[in-house]
Amino acid sequence: MDWDSMQRKLTILSDAAKYDVSCSSSGSRRANTKNGIGNAACSGICHTWSADGRCVSLLKILMTNNCIYDCAYCINRCTHETDRAILTPDEIADLTVEFYRRNYIEGLFLSSGVYHSPDYTTELLIRTARKLREEKRFNGYIHMKGIPGADRSLIRELGGYVDRMSVNIELPSAASLKALAPQKTKQSILLPMNELKNGIAERQEERRRSKNMPSFVPAGQTTQLIIGATPDSDRTILRLGEALYRKVNLKRVYYSAYVPAMQDANLPAVVKPPLLREHRLYQADWLLRFYQFSADEILTEKTPDFDLQLDPKACWALRHPEVFPVEINRASYHMLLRVPGIGVTSAQRICAARRAAWLSYDTLRRLGIVLKRAKYFITCRGKFYGESSCPDFIRQRLILRERSGSYEEMDLFSTARP
């Protein structure tokens, strides 16, 4: 291997890939094969954390940062002057396996600029995936990008080799797409997504009948939305996320605070990435996926944007004083999930523990419930432990808590606040 040229290419291509948020390696149970190397861990495994606190689980690189498109927000746009590089399928496969053996990574996340044409780029991705799976007998995690505009049969072929695929929507509305990425259309993005959705559903059906069918994108598909590069409201973004979960069966929607890497007349003059807004969106996303909330409950027409001072679950609870306080020993699982300070794990623990005993306030603390938040919304054995159930009073207290908490990001966030 030519180490100097490799070092140069890796630097260019990892630098160009770093704005893609997704790095998870979960959701696949791919087992190792005979004489093979690697497997996938269903829970996902983080291998290191970079200086910005984000987990690094996969070798996240672009195959090439050459691109025929000219999207305003993207550092790889064709009109931007920057160093360009391309890695061959052999180089990518070798690097992945050698990093994997040393336990640096959980697998590969290969994305790419659009090189010559969407079909040509996808063919190169397929060649890389085939080399890894068939020649190297590599069974670790592989996540690859679906290139908008690629032929359906190519998308299907790629899906047969990888664990996860993602097609990034990036811009949350058709108008934003037109302004910032004029060569892409809503249709060209949704087409590969639907193709993947159908492929996954068909294969699941086939596997129900025969266990020997090969897998097709077993860890599902994901997408990414950029936050803060366009004037779209939080409600628009969250409702889009909800629709993607319901209609296209996405595993995850990632939200990425827009980092002003490029300058363009159509882009806002952001000084700092809106990290707190991104954080609130993730909180709301969790409420959608694990807490049985709907987007319309979290953000109403009257309040289309997040309250930056308080998390969305607490905001919902304060808007609905009529349902609180709830009695811990009697409330349904669904209601327990809606109490600020009670998460999925602690709600399950409460349900399990109260089968054996009538729960006391001290037990709750041990079960992992955050009482400093929950105490305003619950009664335990009929007794209320918060001083008052007036929403304004609770709001003051909760905000005080969030500020004085040991959150080191708070400093960062408070300067990012508009």
Partner: protein, 248 residues
């Protein structure tokens, strides 16, 4: 009566087995051999796999596999007063049988579960954080210094993952390790750590590539040192190749 055992999990279970048959009322403590006691009668228990298996089988059939799992992981957390607390855990389990798992309000049992959680968390974290170096003979070698004794429970993960390689995971504080070669896994003692490690020709180049990758992937505008340290505590840094020579 103070029961002493050799420090292994099966040794501990043998001691529990003996204590159970002689009479639990007389048990003052269950400790590792080698400590000296001023007061009390001492009884050395020799590790007997059959005794240990009988307890484990009974525990599994009566209370479920998760109870055994928690017991083993809690033992590996190596808490100073684990002997009596784990004995009490076993007694409670046999007493409550299949109700035991939902019995979450007992404080001492909760503590044992916390220990198990601690071991489980550290195991999971280290599955990602350990780094292998390729030695000149082709063997992959990794050294770590974990708080809990997690090396034995980490091994099966790497057996599934790297079945065609020869590798060693070395716990430098406990002077032991796991050695895998040709389908055989063995626990070995490593009395003295190697001073000089003879790495393969390509090792330095791949390390350099990985370090370069690690530095480039961070987004400068989002730098968040506190968050990184919360996920990746500094106690592990000396054993992680990309964190060596890192500032602060």
């Amino acid at each position: 009566m103070i029961y002493t055992y050799d420090g292994t999990f099966f040794g501990f279970l043998s001691a529990v087995f003996d204590a159970w048959h002689i009479g639990l009322d007389h048990v003052e403590d269950i400790k590792i051999m080698g400590s000296t006691f001023l007061f009390g009668e001492e009884r050395n228990v020799y590790t007997d796999e059959k005794k240990a298996q009988r307890i484990l089988t009974a525990l599994q059939t009566k209370c479920g596999g998760k109870t055994c799992h928690v017991l083993y992981y809690a033992f590996l957390a190596e808490q100073p007063d684990r002997g009596m607390k784990l004995l009490r855990y076993i007694r409670q389990a046999f007493h409550l049988k299949d109700e035991f798992l939902s019995h979450l309000s007992d404080e001492e049992i909760w503590e044992v579960r916390k220990w198990a959680q601690k071991t489980g968390n550290e195991r999971h974290k280290l599955l990602g954080l350990i780094r292998f170096q390729e030695l000149s003979g082709g063997m992959l070698y990794s050294r770590i210094n974990p708080t809990c004794c997690v090396v034995p429970v980490m091994a099966p993960h790497f057996v599934r993952r790297l079945p065609g390689e020869e590798w060693v995971i070395h716990d430098i504080r406990r002077h032991m390790g796991i050695w895998y070669e040709g389908g055989v896994l063995s626990i070995i003692e490593i009395p003295r750590p190697l001073q000089q490690i003879d790495v393969s020709d390509e090792e330095a180049a791949f390390t350099a590539l990985w370090k370069k990758y690690y530095q480039t992937i961070a987004i400068g505008e989002r730098s968040n040192e506190g968050l990184r340290r919360r996920f990746m505590p500094k106690k592990y840094w000396p054993y992680i190749v990309e964190m060596r020579n890192e500032k602060k």
